[in-house]
Amino acid sequence: MPKDQSKIRNFCIVAHIDHGKSTLADRIMDVTETVSKREAKEQLLDSMDIERERGITIKLTPVRMNYTYNGEQYEFNLIDTPGHVDFTYEVSRSLKACEGAILIVDASQGIEAQTLTNVYLALDNDLEIIPVINKIDLPSARPDEVKKEIEDVIGLDAQTAPLVSAKEGIGIEEVLKQVIELLPPPKGDYDKPLKALIFDSYYDSYKGAVSFIRIFDGKVRAGDKIKFFATGKEFEVTEVGVFTPRSTPVDELSAGDVGYLCASIKNVSDTKVGDTITTAVGGAKEPLGGFKEVSPMVFCGIYPTDGARYNDLKDALEKLKLNDASLMYEPEVSTALGFGFRCGFLGLLHMEIIQERLEREFDLDLITTAPGVSYNVVKNNGETLIVSNPSNLPPAGDIDHMEEPVVKAFLYTPPEYVGAIMELCQDKRGTFIDLTYLESTRVKIEYEMPLNEIIYDFFDSLKSHTRGYASLDYEIIGYRESDLVKLDILLNGEICDALSLIVHREKAYARGRGIAEKLKEVIPRQLFEIPIQAAIGGKVIARETVKAMRKDVLAKCYGGDITRKKKLLEKQKEGKKRMRQIGSVEVPSEAFMTILKFNK
């Protein structure tokens, strides 16, 4: 039976970190009596520790709420969104599942950089936006100025923006009133063929891959035969349901609904975010727009610090992959680090999250090599290789040329940082494309840049150059020929393959010098002198030396206290376990990370 879509509101909340997104979501659930506070913490809020600590959402967790207003019963679907450039595509799909968004701005902080990307994404998806001024209970609150900022910077009418303290529960009803009055209801057609957008998915060991969907047209029930546009695969629906926020089965999901769908799908990579589901027979002719195949852009080697835990690492990656279709991995072997995996990620944050989850949830100690991108290598004989591990690069003499991925980068910034940003982009081998004043206080700059420069330390540099005010978004536009070289690091005369990098020739000297200096700091002195060299081909371009250790001896043993001496030695020995033996040199695991964090 068709539902009264005029009583449905699908919306999300967008905000800068710490402006109170989760707290407001909690309050809305309190007011709509959806779940207890304690459950709210477990359910709506980000479920992973890492997400909570970093204040970002990775997995999207929607919730359905009921609210009575002017005697009418309304149904709200609140969809949470991640807030990082790595996941821009996922955010855009979540936004597409909504008709409106609540924009939270902190009453004392005002508009901040991270707010903007998501606001623009919301506007791109034609969402209606309700600005909300939060934290008005703070003594430093300046709601009027912040309202003006919203009008000036984003161009939204903020005069009627609710003044809220999510913490104190002030103004929540006003927010819900505006959700009902200002956000449009969905306008799907129940009788048309099914069109459902997948905006997320996760793996459940009993139900298989579960898709989070928004129904645009038509309806779906258990027993229906459905088809995925992207893969063409067909499945029989085993269950549909809604989030209360617990997964609760229902008979039917229909136009305007947000819910989930299970169909005994074994692999999350069959439920691609952004794909459209329709019925296998008599289905829609065209999918919903905007689907993109996401592919990993950033690669690194991941090795267990303790080689004996290779199989544990393998199991852990398999488990994570079940829930994360964008994670790629394949086995690789390094002379320095032994057996491990070359892994592919959406971006740097995605990489860091996976590393942290491997370490925390699976209790693994990891060594990670510097992140890189994948290159097209065209050999003299015309053959083209795709190389993401510097060690797999053919000898320089066999290479005709190499190509690297290039992105179009969009940078949003207040005008005062334009100079700093352009300088930074030039330094990162960027090509200037365009500069537009969006408002008097906001500029959009476009550059074409090698991805390899972006993943290196661009994001951090950008933040520090602009006091956090600039935001970045980028899209891959293709591969370009580039003068790239393999930079090797030699420890005591031996190449350490795990430290090799592919860099632009012009950057090689600076990188080589920087890495050698950094390694000198992190490699402890040993019984002999250790030369650290950076080399291109056979040519050494930088050299540092770790001097031989001269003092490593125990202090006086007071009154025959041998036990204390022994403990000290054992502690030293324990420390050595975290070292990797590279040839004759002991290298601490952190050394492999330092070249990743290196700032010039």
């Binding site: 019984l527 001269r550 003092k551 490593d552 125990l554 006086k556 007071y558 009154g559 036990t563």
Partner: protein, 371 residues
């Protein structure tokens, strides 16, 4: 079975040095008497755990020389009542500021043969900054008094003190050699957590670097050599064969009994330790509770590990034959891996295993290749 050693700990000092994290308190005679009372009582119960011969006695601290008159004699008396003493060496640690003529006479009378003087430096500035109570002149006087009184004299030199330079080392070694000191211990300052020194370092105090310390040590070794001293352990030097017999027992894993708070003993495979503070010790002994509360029984592996760890600090090195007898192992086979790793750093001829002299100061790194 070789004879055992006896260690007695005196946890009193007139003041606490900035770098010290050892058990020592500044207390008057009343508390000292209580402590000695407990100590004598503990000694009386010692018979139960040991009935062999003891041939070295070492009273350390703290500052044993700051004890009230007669205390040392009472300790020796109690030990004599409980054990078969046949002392070849009887050492008392003294600080220059409390080592007076009266003290020297008293110790002589008690049978002391050897005085270990905590001189540490002969640079007034360095001494003052380290929080030592004495100056160079006092120290020199004490050294002369000890030698004149007929004791074997050992002097402690600390390396790496704030502002210390090589000329301090030169002056120190030169003076000691000239005055007839026959033993010298040269330890490097270690900044222990929780000490005033550690706080000062946190607040920006700059101490000589590891390399500076290594320079000071190398200087000490070469100066001592010039004056006829030889190194017999990483930090210990002597001439005329005047090794510290008691300390040798630690390094060769002989038995030693321990009495007093914070004292460590070893009998056979048992290592034991009187932990807690002075008051706790006095209470425990008064209640007739066995004073030592921490003990560890070494297994074969641990004992062998310690034997090698300690032996490698000695100039004589690890006695391979002795190790094979004691632990019933084929030494070369058991340590094949370590011998391979340490090949460039040790001397091994099948009978002894020694660290090459030039690597004495990085002994830990070498020892870790074996244990």
């Amino acid at each position: 079975m070789s004879a055992a050693g006896i260690y007695v700990h005196i946890p009193f000092c007139r003041s606490k040095c900035a770098y010290c994290d050892f058990v020592s308190v500044c207390e008057g005679e009343e508390k000292q008497r209580l402590y000695i009372g407990a100590l004598l009582r503990e000694i009386n119960t010692g018979r139960k755990i040991f009935d062999g011969v003891a041939d070295t006695l070492y009273i350390g601290g703290g500052t044993p020389s700051c004890l009230y008159d007669g205390a040392v004699e009472s300790i020796v008396g109690a030990l004599g009542d409980s054990f078969d003493l046949s002392l070849r060496e009887f050492t008392v640690e003294c600080n220059p500021d409390t080592f007076t003529q009266t003290k020297a006479d008293e110790l002589k009378k008690a049978g002391v043969t050897r005085i270990s003087l905590g001189v540490q430096s002969l640079d007034d500035g360095v001494l003052k900054r380290a929080g030592r109570r004495h100056d160079a002149a006092t120290a020199m006087q004490a050294v002369r008094l000890a030698v004149k009184s007929g004791f074997d004299v050992s002097a402690d030199l600390m390396l790496g003190l704030e502002g210390q330079r090589e000329d301090d080392v030169d002056a120190f070694v030169g003076f000691m050699a000239d005055e007839g000191v026959t033993h010298l211990s040269a330890y490097m300052l270690k900044v222990e957590r929780g000490t005033p020194l550690a706080r000062a370092v946190d607040d920006g105090l700059i101490l000589p670097s590891d390399d500076d310390c290594a320079d000071l040590y190398d200087r000490t070794v070469s100066k001592l050599k010039e004056h006829g001293f030889s190194r017999y352990e990483t930090s210990n030097f002597c001439k005329d064969g005047k090794r510290c017999l008691h300390n040798m027992k630690y390094w060769t894993m002989c038995d030693y009994l321990a009495f007093g708070v914070a004292a460590h003993g070893k009998i056979g495979r048992l290592r034991y330790y009187n932990d807690g503070d002075v008051d706790g010790y006095i209470r425990a002994v008064a209640q007739g509770i066995h004073a030592y509360r921490t003990e560890e029984v070494l297994d074969d592996e641990e004992e062998l590990k310690e034997y090698v760890m300690l032996g490698l600090r000695l100039e004589d090195g690890v006695d391979v034959g002795e190790a094979e007898r004691r632990f019933g192992i084929p030494f070369e086979e058991r340590f094949a891996d370590g011998l391979k790793k340490a090949a460039g750093y040790v001397l091994f001829d099948g009978r002894t295993l020694r660290i090459k002299p030039e690597y004495a100061l990085v002994a830990n790194a070498v020892i870790n290749m074996f244990v």
